[in-house]
């Protein structure tokens, strides 16, 4: 029943995507297009929720549910298992595509109907490509041959609240850029007499996609921080890079659209970014899913899937880039601007983002190229990225502090100095205090803290001035970046680590804390059992600060172990404990980290998200008034 309903609705989405494409091509009436758009949305919703229903009721006649679930699993992880596997995540991908398809359609009116029609045409084609891919290679509604009493379970490290919502947020980011892509293609294919203010349409979609991509990446990092147990939050893993690259280009795009809107300059560049950002989102999916880069995210190694996605990207990529090469000249302009101006600073931002993105792409695919064309094998890891990316990002952050307060067109140099003088003071004073607290001078630490307060103080100044010309969403998001840099610097420069074998009642000392191993106990969860360490944390005055309880869990269905770090957080530092192997007689291996300022990474990410939402809201309102 479930498999029938699911498969049927999946085929119907395919039908509606094809009819949407052709009815737009043939200039059919609005009514027919409306039926297609809504039909597509409804049936992708039905197929998605049908699978979710199968997971909730543990219907093991569905192969996908059998392979990825178990009746004892908590409800939230039954739901998140829908997108915690390849086939189900494709349904989510399609659903998000159709949601954006629907919202693009909502902007349809007499003035813009050619532009929106062309956008929906491309969107329908992309959607069609992914639905066909799902039906051919990754149908989540296959039936099992045998009847099974229970499922095989779900990877325990994915059974986690942050990771349950990480994929939907990330997909709104990745897939949101499909709308930007479709609009860029539509813009390029418009005739000269059909030109409209395309950037006003692209901007809200780009902001929404970027905002969700940002928070999605942050949640993935947060998960890596507490689940992987190394006390780190970013590892330059190819999968992280796959999300970071579209984020970088997306950042460049958002900023270049400001110039396009205000000065009608850099139009071709913005259109190119609109195309490349989505192409990179898809390349990321390809790299991750094809099994070329194996990781937690590789659900199944199946060459036919990789080949299909590769061909699909090649098709869309070739088409869009040829279109760009042949049609973009019409959007070329001679509106140049001075270096010392708001536009100049945005140009620097764009160039540096593009340089970082190219470097990350190079590092990610270079080992693959070496392996394919020579007999050698090389690794490109964290040290490579640290030594190439960080030096390029530092000037970008410097410019980021000053850019927004510069005037349009041209700014006199001494005017600039007058404007930034207060923030220079505001930067130096807190930096001084931070170093008083942590008492450790390292070059990269000084730079990081200075940059962080540079951004924070400049944005606080703008906030205080209540000047209407500053975009509120921008100030909030930039403030978030400042706090993010504070957290990144603190945790990477001043991290302290203590690894030791501890017996019960042993004490370990880290920074100004004494940590006593009080006891160890057994505990039983819904679908796992665990041993739980009990640690008492005292400060120098022997006052108890907190109890930390790291766990080692065993999931018997999946026959898998996970470790759960226990973390005590305040605004200045995290205390982070993981329990390793051991027994009563010899003691346990205990790993304790003192991670300064980590919380500011997460606070920064949330504030960036809020800034993005604010900005999306402003841009949507602008578009609505503009439309009327």
């Amino acid at each position: 029943m479930v498999t029938l309903l699911g498969t049927l609705s999946l085929w119907l989405t395919l039908f509606f995507s094809i009819s949407q494409f052709f009815s737009l091509k043939k200039n059919q009436s609005l009514k027919i297009i409306k039926i297609c758009v809504i039909g597509l949305l409804i049936f992708s919703l039905i197929s998605f929720f049908t699978l979710m229903y199968a997971y909730i009721v543990s219907d093991f006649s569905v192969l996908n549910v059998f392979q990825n679930s178990h009746s004892t699993k908590p409800l939230i992880y039954k739901i998140s298992a829908v997108w915690g596997n390849h086939e189900g995540s494709m349904l989510l991908w399609i659903l998000v595509l159709t949601i954006f398809n629907f919202f693009i359609f909502k902007f349809y009116n007499k003035e813009n109907f050619i532009f929106i029609s062309k956008t929906l045409e491309t969107q329908a084609f992309i959607t069609f490509g992914f639905i066909l891919f799902t039906i051919l290679t990754s149908n989540p509604f296959e039936e099992t041959i045998k009847v099974h009493a229970d499922g095989l379970g779900f990877n325990p490290i994915l059974q986690d609240p942050a990771l349950a919502i990480h994929p939907p947020l990330l997909y709104f980011g990745y897939v949101g850029f499909s709308a930007v892509f479709s609009m860029s293609i539509a813009t390029l294919s418009l005739e000269n007499n059909q030109k409209i203010a395309w950037y006003n349409y692209i901007k809200p979609f780009a902001v929404i996609a970027w905002t969700f991509l940002s928070i999605g990446i942050a949640l993935g990092s947060l998960w890596a921080y507490y689940e992987l147990g190394w006390g780190g939050w970013w590892f330059w893993d190819p999968v992280e890079n796959a999300s970071f690259m579209p984020w970088l280009l997306g950042t460049a795009l958002l900023h270049s659209l400001i110039i396009v809107e205000k000065r009608k300059s850099l139009q071709t560049w913005a259109l190119l970014l609109g195309i490349l950002t989505f192409l990179l989102s898809m390349v990321g999916t390809f790299l991750v899913r094809s099994g070329i880069l194996t990781s937690v995210h590789t659900f199944a190694l199946d060459p036919s899937r990789g080949l299909y996605i590769l061909l699909f990207i090649a098709l869309i990529g070739t088409y869009s880039l040829i279109l760009f090469a042949s049609k973009s000249k019409r959007y070329f302009d001679n509106n140049y601007f001075a270096f010392f101006s708001k536009e100049g600073s945005i140009l620097v931002n764009n160039i540096l983002m593009a340089v970082v993105c190219s470097t990350v792409l190079l590092g990610t695919i270079y080992p693959l190229i070496v392996e394919a064309f020579t007999n050698n094998k090389i690794s490109v890891g964290e040290p490579y990225y640290n030594s190439t990316v960080i030096p390029i990002i530092i000037p970008a952050i410097l410019v980021m502090g000053i850019g927004p307060i510069l005037g349009w067109k041209k700014e006199k140099k001494y005017e600039i100095l007058k404007k930034i003088l207060p923030s220079i003071f505001l930067t130096i004073i807190p930096t001084f205090f931070i170093f008083m607290i942590y008492q450790s001078l390292s070059f990269i630490g000084v730079i990081g803290i200075l940059l962080s307060f540079w951004i924070i103080s400049n944005n606080l100044m703008m906030l205080i001035q209540k000047n209407k010309k500053y975009h509120k969403g921008m100030i909030i998001a930039h403030l978030g970046v400042g706090l993010l840099i504070l957290g990144i610097t603190g945790s990477s420069v001043w991290q302290k680590e203590n690894v030791s074998k501890m017996k019960i009642k042993d004490t370990v000392n880290i920074e100004k804390y004494n940590i006593v191993f009080d006891k160890i106990e057994e505990s039983v969860g819904p679908n796992y059992v665990a041993i739980k360490g009990n640690f008492l944390v005292y400060d120098k005055e022997r006052n108890i600060i907190t109890k930390l309880k790291p766990e080692n869990r065993f999931y018997h269905v999946e026959n898998n172990f996970t470790t759960e770090a226990s973390i005590h957080t305040n605004l200045l530092r995290d205390l982070y404990i993981v329990l390793g192997a051991g027994n009563i007689n010899d003691g346990w291996i205990v790993r304790i980290y003192y991670n300064p300022l980590v919380i500011w990474i997460w606070i920064g990410a949330i504030i960036i998200f809020l800034g993005g939402i604010t900005s999306a809201n402003i841009n949507l309102k602008k578009l609505k008034t503009f439309d009327q």
């Binding site: 050698n376 690794s379 964290e382």
Partner: protein
Amino acid sequence: MKIKKKFITITSIFLVNLFAFNLYGVEPDEILKDQKQEERARIISKNIRCMICQNQSIDESSAPLAKDLRLLIREKIKEGKNNKEIYNFLTERYGDFILLKPPFKLITFLLWLLPFVFLFIGIFLIFSHNKKSKKV
């Protein structure tokens, strides 16, 4: 049914105690007494890839091979070898694949050069734009 559940629980707890392997690299018995030497060992280990893992350094890995290499590096440090000698020793045995920071060679020439090229193209674009703006 209840008995079966209890049985599973008891055996599982037994298993957690038995197999809860150390997931995260450096173990207490490996650590060198000399703090400076240990610090050097940590820095080297962070640049050495765990050959059988996905994108992990031996400093983070729990694999037995990673542990062997960590011990080997510490032995070499105690013998008085400098960092370069240790890296050379490791690459002779395992190839460049073991280095997380690839060495500058013919084969990695583009990997190290291109970021600079990208940057110079970028700077050139900014300058040429600036020049044109002055003409207008």
